[in-house]
């Protein structure tokens, strides 16, 4: 998101290089049918569902596995080897399904499922907030035109020229640590909305020149009615595609910020933070590095595949 400006985190704000085609698009049921027949989509959706489930049921899963995310298991690490996990693959055993953290002996499975909670909460909340701001701003600018459009467009230009990653880090490190997740969501949304709003704006402009809007206006519909009844429904497929493609960007941003140490504060687990703390161990305990990395990579990949496929379908209208 928002980071194409000056940074190498995730230029995924631009993942939607080619803005999806405007207007209605194929029906929901037809879209679902095409999606279900695509193996990559099914796998992606399955993995996303799995992570969501893990996030929601984290306390329960931890009950079953027997170790909480903050429990230290001194028996699972070898103090003579500087705290390396005992056994194969970073201490993977019936006791600790994904092994344990070197040094502390905390259960990695528990930290992964609780980390999924953080990732999903931040990414989905950021997406929701970004979308709301973007739709409101985009509709306002596109429908009203004139001074409103000018002001909103300038603000968007400004935010997109801003070195967002540096600034996010600076703000996050300067602000107090409590309620970090909320802060992450707000910061991501503030710098993320222009990328979607720009598309909403241009589509609103072209939609308001179409005959059906003219017809609605001629039949006496007011500004708000036109915006919500005529324009917004036609933006639906664009929004679905662009928000799906935005989620992986935000997951990556949260993980990246946590990796840099300004995201979620320890001991609350987060995947990015787990990867960061595995850096000093990866030569001797690769499993500790691999597990959160693979989880993160697959999640981002799944959302990207899903979004990509949705875009292809809405773009090509291959359903009719």
């Amino acid at each position: 998101m928002a980071l194409s400006s000056g940074v190498d985190l995730e230029p995924s704000a631009r993942a939607g290089h080619r803005d999806p085609a405007p207007a209605g698009g194929p029906g929901r049921r037809a879209v679902l049918r095409v999606l279900r027949s695509d193996i990559a989509v099914v796998l992606s959706a399955g993995y996303i569902a799995l992570v969501l489930l893990a996030a929601v049921a984290a306390p329960l899963l931890v009950q079953v596995s027997g170790w909480g995310p903050y429990d230290f298991d001194q028996a699972a690490i070898d103090p003579n080897l500087g705290g390396l996990p005992v056994g194969w693959g970073g201490g993977i055993s019936a006791e600790h399904w994904f092994g344990v953290e070197p040094g502390s002996g905390r259960d990695i499975f528990a930290r992964i499922v609780y980390g999924a909670r953080v990732s999903m909460t931040v990414a989905l909340a950021a997406t929701a907030l970004t979308t709301v701001i973007a739709v409101v701003m985009g509709l306002l600018a596109g429908y009203h035109g004139g001074v409103v459009d000018l002001v909103i467009s300038r603000v968007m230009d400004f935010l997109m020229a801003f070195p967002a990653l540096i600034f996010m880090i600076a703000v996050l490190s300067a602000l107090p640590a409590e309620n970090r997740q909320l802060l992450l969501v707000v910061v991501i949304a503030v710098f993320g909305w222009p990328y979607l709003a720009r598309v909403v704006r241009s589509q609103t402009i072209s939609l308001t020149q179409r005959e059906f809007v003219e017809a609605a206006r001629a039949s006496g519909a007011g500004g708000w009615t036109i915006v919500f009844r005529e324009v917004l429904p036609n933006l639906r497929s664009t929004l679905v595609v662009m928000t799906t493609l935005a989620v992986p960007g935000y997951i990556g941003t949260e993980a990246g910020l946590s990796f840099l140490g300004v995201g979620v504060i320890p001991p609350t687990p987060s995947w990015g933070q787990m990867i960061a703390s595995s850096v000093s161990w990866y030569a001797v305990d690769p499993a500790y590095f691999l597990i959160p990395s693979v989880c993160l990579f697959l999640l981002v990949l799944s959302f990207t595949v899903l979004g990509d496929r949705l875009r292809t379908i809405t773009d090509s209208g291959e359903l009719r």
Binding site: G6, V7, A161, V262
Partner: protein, 327 residues
């Protein structure tokens, strides 16, 4: 044209002004007192007051902001008589070096990282995307697109650590990257920068390959391409004369933006590999709460992005004559 450039440059100054104001406000409001921080241990209240006076930290907000701005434009003389020539971005709170000199020091490393990565990703991305488009639907195309999908999805610090583990720790074919000077031997220089280049370019190469592929496929479906084919032009000439230019124009403009962005520092890549570029400077100054440096790095990055924006507009007019006549 002159008038157009004038307007753009004015806009640039306005945005830079706003960026500095925005950054200044955030630090003025949020940050702990830098005077206490500079003073360190064994500090007396008198000493803190003295530091505040010297740096002008006891002044009201607008005075401080004004001093900062005039320092950038005209240089600045501190209360203790220290002269900081223009463009004066102040002194680091951490090591008392002039911030401008720190930037000048670090810029070559960031530029080296950015240029090398850019060469790689342009070659791989554009060539890969073009081949994919021409061989649409084949195994080559599918393989390349799967790779590109992976490239978009893998966080670059993960990629960096994997490569480092395999190439440096296990196989020992590359050294741990260091910011080696080209003058110290091109071979060494190349070996040290190779991994950062690959890591940084992988994401961009993937994006560019996807973009190039999509654009070329779109262009090949255009009527004028069909016309060119119909009049008997050989396939490669159709592509070179008619399809490439419109398909690559968006790639060129996005490239200008991405490259400009990277000049402001590849924060994560530089941090992971410990390369002392602008990006690492930003990360370090943030953890140390070194406000003058954070200000400067933010401004520098914004400067590059804005210049990139202007270059994009000019480039577009040059590459696409339709835009030129419209203006």
């Amino acid at each position: 044209m002159l008038r157009y450039m004038g307007v753009r440059l004015l806009g640039m100054v306005v945005v830079l002004f706003l960026v500095s104001l925005f950054t200044f406000v955030i630090f003025f409001v949020l940050s702990p007192d830098p005077a206490v921080q500079i003073c360190g241990k064994n500090c007396t209240p008198e000493r803190i007051d003295q530091i505040r006076g010297t740096l002008g930290l006891d002044q009201p907000f607008w005075t401080q902001f004004g001093q900062f701005l005039s320092g950038v434009v005209a240089g600045r003389t501190y209360a203790d008589g220290q002269v900081c020539p223009a463009p004066c971005l102040g002194y680091s709170f951490q090591n008392s070096l002039p911030v401008w000199d720190m930037l000048v020091d670090r810029l070559p490393v960031s530029a080296t990282v950015a240029v090398g990565a850019a060469v790689l990703w342009l070659l791989a991305g554009v060539a890969g995307g073009l081949l994919s488009a021409l061989k649409e639907g084949t195994w080559w195309d599918r393989g390349a697109m799967v790779l590109a999908l992976g490239g978009i999805s893998v966080p670059n610090y993960v990629l960096a650590l994997v490569l480092q583990y395999v190439l440096v720790v296990q196989l020992q074919v590359l050294p741990f990257p260091q910011a080696v000077d080209f003058a110290d031997g091109p071979g060494q220089w190349f070996a040290n920068y190779l991994m950062p280049w690959v890591v940084l370019s992988f994401l961009y190469a993937s994006l560019y390959a996807r973009l190039t592929r999509a654009n070329v496929i779109d262009t090949l479906g255009e009527n004028y391409v069909r016309t060119a084919r119909a009049k008997g032009l050989p396939g490669w000439l159709v592509i070179r004369r008619h399809a490439l230019r419109p398909a690559l124009t968006p790639v060129a403009t996005i490239f200008a933006m991405d490259f400009a962005g990277l000049l402001g520092g590849a924060l994560i890549t530089e941090t992971v590999f410990g390369l002392n570029g602008i990006g690492k400077l930003a990360a370090d100054s943030i953890t140390q709460n070194d406000q003058p440096v954070i200000m400067a790095v933010t401004l520098l990055a914004a400067f590059f992005v804005i210049v990139g924006n202007i270059v994009v507009d000019l480039l577009y007019g040059w590459l696409d004559p339709r835009v030129r006549t419209a203006r």
